[in-house]
């Protein structure tokens, strides 16, 4: 249950056709809103009036709505065409079917330039370096194309001792000054038409370095050289011009700007319930989290033998536990305000029967 594309970029005033193919076994939609709309809050608020929302096909009566699909039934397709607003910015989109918003959301970027490079290729080298080597004398371990045009590291699952050279084309819209920002862990160099535009060649933690370059309109050759020693790794490249703000040339945004290492690994609930036994906040030391299809979730405390949490929306983000050693308590996803119930500890919600099919216990006063 997710959109396979969570970010796309279009130009102001373009006519855009959005094609949605629902391969899932639940209904979905896609609603695009004005920049700044809190779509998670908006989707959650729909649940406050479930009957009205159902009647309206999960479409809110909200002036911030820019464009939308219909409600697409399982295993079917739909498309819609709309004109992109003239205002440059980030337009969030979301599925408003109950419980989906926390996982099914994304961003439409309206910008004069689109992210990435064209004809992007990589050559991966294995080796142990302290600073950027002269790649020209080395033999690549593996080479290939990067179809999405974004500079990225996860070409292979090597984590230590490798280098990558990326080559591609950059379409410069007008003559002018452009600022290129880079951050690499470890070293990184960006060359445009064979000349170094900005570099940070040593072994390091990622820090942003930027430099301005005057470029003529047209297609420019871009070359990016990168190497990794050990430990953390990362690569970030972006550019901006007089008429557009920082636009990514790499897949992962820089840690300064986005993405935390303890979020972003939502456990998706498909057609079957998912169980997550790990440290869930407020569910004691032996929790059993269960996410049901449709966005209903609970946590059972197996130490006290009691139900302790109920919540609607997304199930749980596993990143805190699954990207690290496993410590820390992870609160549930979903809407905190009215859809998450903490059940008082004093109440006993169940008792264990002496026999599986024995009579239910009677309440004693």
């Amino acid at each position: 249950m997710r959109y396979d594309v969570t970010d796309f970029t279009v130009k102001p005033g373009d006519e855009v056709r959005v094609v949605l193919d629902n391969e899932d076994d639940m209904p979905h939609n896609l609603l695009i809103f004005q920049p700044g709309t809190d779509v998670l809050e908006l989707a959650a608020s729909l649940m406050d009036k479930p009957e009205e929302t159902f009647k309206n096909g999960y479409v809110p009566d909200d002036p911030r709505l820019v464009a939308r699909s219909t409600l697409i039934q399982p295993k079917s397709k739909d498309e819609f065409i709309f004109k992109v607003p003239e205002k440059v910015g980030v337009y969030p989109f979301v599925c408003t079917f109950p419980g989906h918003a926390a996982i099914m959301n994304g961003r439409m970027h309206v910008s004069l330039v689109t992210p990435g490079l064209t004809d992007l290729k990589f050559a991966l080298y294995q080796g142990k370096w302290e600073k950027l080597p002269d790649f020209s004398g080395l033999t690549p371990h593996r080479e290939g194309d990067i179809p999405d045009g974004l500079v990225q590291i996860e070409l292979d699952d090597y984590k230590n001792h490798f280098g990558i050279v990326y080559t591609g084309k950059l379409n410069v819209p007008k003559d002018g000054d452009y600022t290129f920002s880079i951050a690499g862990d470890d070293g990184l160099r960006l060359l445009i038409d064979g000349k170094a535009a900005v570099e940070n060649e040593g072994s390091q933690a990622a820090k942003t370095k930027a430099a301005m370059t005057r470029l003529a309109a047209g297609v420019r050759d871009v070359r990016v050289e990168y190497f990794q020693t050990e430990g953390e790794l990362g690569i970030y490249l972006a550019w901006k011009g007089a008429e557009f703000s920082n636009t990514a040339l790499s897949k992962r945004l820089h840690a300064d700007t986005k993405s935390s290492d303890t979020t972003g690994m939502s456990l998706l609930v498909g057609s079957e319930p998912e169980i997550y036994r790990n440290f869930i906040a407020k569910a004691d030391a032996r929790p059993i989290g269960v996410g049901y299809p449709g966005g209903f979730n609970l946590a059972w405390d197996a130490a006290q033998m009691n139900l302790v949490l109920l919540w609607r929306g997304g199930f749980i983000d596993t990143a805190l536990h699954w990207k690290h050693r496993g410590g820390g308590e992870q609160p549930p996803m979903g809407r905190i305000k009215c859809a998450r119930v903490e059940i008082p500890r004093c109440r006993s919600w169940c008792s264990i029967l002496p026999k599986p099919h024995g009579p239910c216990p009677t309440r004693k006063r």
Binding site: Y158, K159, N160, R277, N278, R325
Partner: protein, 485 residues
């Protein structure tokens, strides 16, 4: 046609290396399996299932069954058997059920409707404490010769035991009764049996553990870290609480004061053999894994390697020697098992603790190529030195020359602080090296042996009868006891 050309390449490759010194891969080959992309196969436990299948437990709490892993790697198949456990650190198969040890319990899982997925989850026992600290891992064994499972419970962090039986080894009887069996555990990462069914676990460097170790779980013993002593109050079968070991002492000295204290059988010398000892495998394949029958193979998470251990019993105490064996695994090894064909399956992860392998997780297999490496086969303590046996005949001139060997002895500080440097150096002199009549053994006489010290031996000058060097020319013998004869 394809097959034929591939064969040619292989013969060409082996012709090339003939001129150079032998290397590990001539004798033991590592095969790396692709794993399902929808998960991170951070293998933390492996068990053999009927029909040549395997079960893999993972740190994310999944259990996968694998078919075809004993044959061509490209044809291996995976099926998700169960999910939503909390770190599957032990798997044991018995009578159609899979017994798992996770953080919270030992449970019996069974696929009752035959669709390949577990649908019965029956808790056998969960009567140990879990505080919510991530460090409280629970590692489980296979069934021992009495039909019991063994579990080793990591401390709360490195120093404390905040809740019941953290820092203890427990036995789980078939009816689910939990029997406190050894105290003194710190941070285990593997548990298995030797060829006689004796139980060993691996512990990691930290407080009261100067180095990572291989330890013998003798019922009633204290394994070195006093952090869990408070639970003697709940373990009447274990007798009275031992006296506390003194800080900044030596293991050999404290053994005289603390009668329950059992020294590590082998120090897996920190920084040389490994940094983070994990799974244990005993070669019970009757020769299908090469010449090291009944020896133990102990993995390391940080070094992404497997080392080889030969054990003997002297004065009632297990002790022995560790040799480097095989490196180059793709991630940090955690779970491992050998099958009846003498294939080791090994897997792991580098999450949270780095590993030399460099990949985030791995599942691999080791096969013996059928060639016998020139190695020290066994190393036994003698009253005045050591006796070595070799896998192949030695060159009597080099092996009979004391100058072909270098030696040093050291120990660790037994202390509450984290780890220890190597201390109390002794440089013994080798006064004699006598080659046996069969040309496959050497008796070394030392001018002195030091009880409690690790005796390291380097055999860089020793050649085989055909002129080859020893493949792994380093040995580290933990001399807990010096034999009288």
């Amino acid at each position: 046609m394809m097959k034929f050309s591939a064969f040619l390449i292989i013969s060409f490759a082996s012709a090339l290396v003939h001129a150079a010194d032998p290397k590990e891969s001539d004798f033991y080959k590592i095969t790396t399996f692709d794993t399902p992309l929808e998960t991170a196969m951070e293998v933390s436990s492996i068990e053999l299932l009927p029909g040549g299948k395997l079960a893999l437990g993972t740190r994310r709490g999944e259990i996968w069954t694998v078919s075809g892993a004993n044959a061509e790697a490209a044809k291996v198949q995976y099926q998700l058997y169960a999910a939503g456990q909390h770190e599957v650190m032990g798997l044991a198969w018995k009578d159609g059920s899979l017994f798992t040890t996770n953080r919270y319990e030992v449970a019996r899982l069974k696929d009752e409707d035959g669709d390949g997925r577990a649908d019965l989850f029956d808790t056998l026992t969960d009567k140990w404490g879990v505080s919510g600290d991530y460090h409280e891992y629970s590692f489980g064994s296979r069934f021992d010769k009495n039909g019991d499972l063994w579990i080793v419970l990591c401390l709360t962090g490195s120093f404390n035991s905040d809740i019941d039986f953290r820092g203890w080894a427990m036995r789980v009887k078939p009816d689910g009764t939990l029997v406190p069996t050894c105290s003194g555990i710190r941070s285990p990462a593997g548990i298995d049996f030797d060829a006689d069914g004796e139980v060993y676990y691996s512990d990691n460097q930290g407080p009261w553990h100067g180095s990572s170790t291989l330890q013998h779980l003798k019922p009633g013993s204290f394994q070195g870290h006093p952090g869990g002593f408070v639970w003697y109050d709940k373990a009447p079968n274990m007798g009275p609480r031992p006296v506390e070991p003194k800080d900044k002492s030596r293991m050999v000295k404290e053994r005289e004061r603390v009668k329950e204290l059992l020294p590590p059988a082998v120090y897996m010398v920190h920084g040389k053999i490994g940094n983070s000892t994990s799974f244990i495998v005993c070669d019970t394949s009757k020769g299908k894994f090469g010449p090291f029958q009944k020896q133990l193979f102990v993995a390391d998470q940080c070094f992404s390697n497997i080392s080889r251990v030969f054990l003997e019993e002297v004065n009632g105490i297990k002790q022995g020697v560790v040799f480097p064996f095989l490196q180059g695994f793709k991630s940090g090894l955690i779970g491992g098992r050998m099958n009846e064909n003498g294939q080791i399956f090994a897997g792991g992860s580098d999450r949270g603790w780095g590993a030399k392998g460099g990949k985030p997780h791995s599942f691999e297999r080791v096969d013996w190529t059928g060639k016998v490496p020139f190695e020290v086969h066994e190393m036994r303590a003698r009253p005045d030195g050591f006796e070595l046996t070799f896998t192949e005949p030695v060159d009597p001139v080099s092996a009979g020359n004391p100058a072909s060997y270098k030696t040093r002895a050291f120990t660790y500080i037994y202390q509450a602080d984290y780890g220890s440097p190597e201390v109390d150096d002794v440089i013994p002199q080798i006064t004699k090296a006598v080659v046996g009549a069969d040309n496959k053994s050497v008796r070394l006489t030392f001018d002195k042996l030091t009880k409690g010290h690790v005796h390291e031996l380097h055999l860089d000058g020793v050649k085989s009868a055909s002129g080859l060097p020893v493949l792994h020319a380093s040995a580290y013998y933990t001399l807990n006891e010096i034999p009288a004869k």
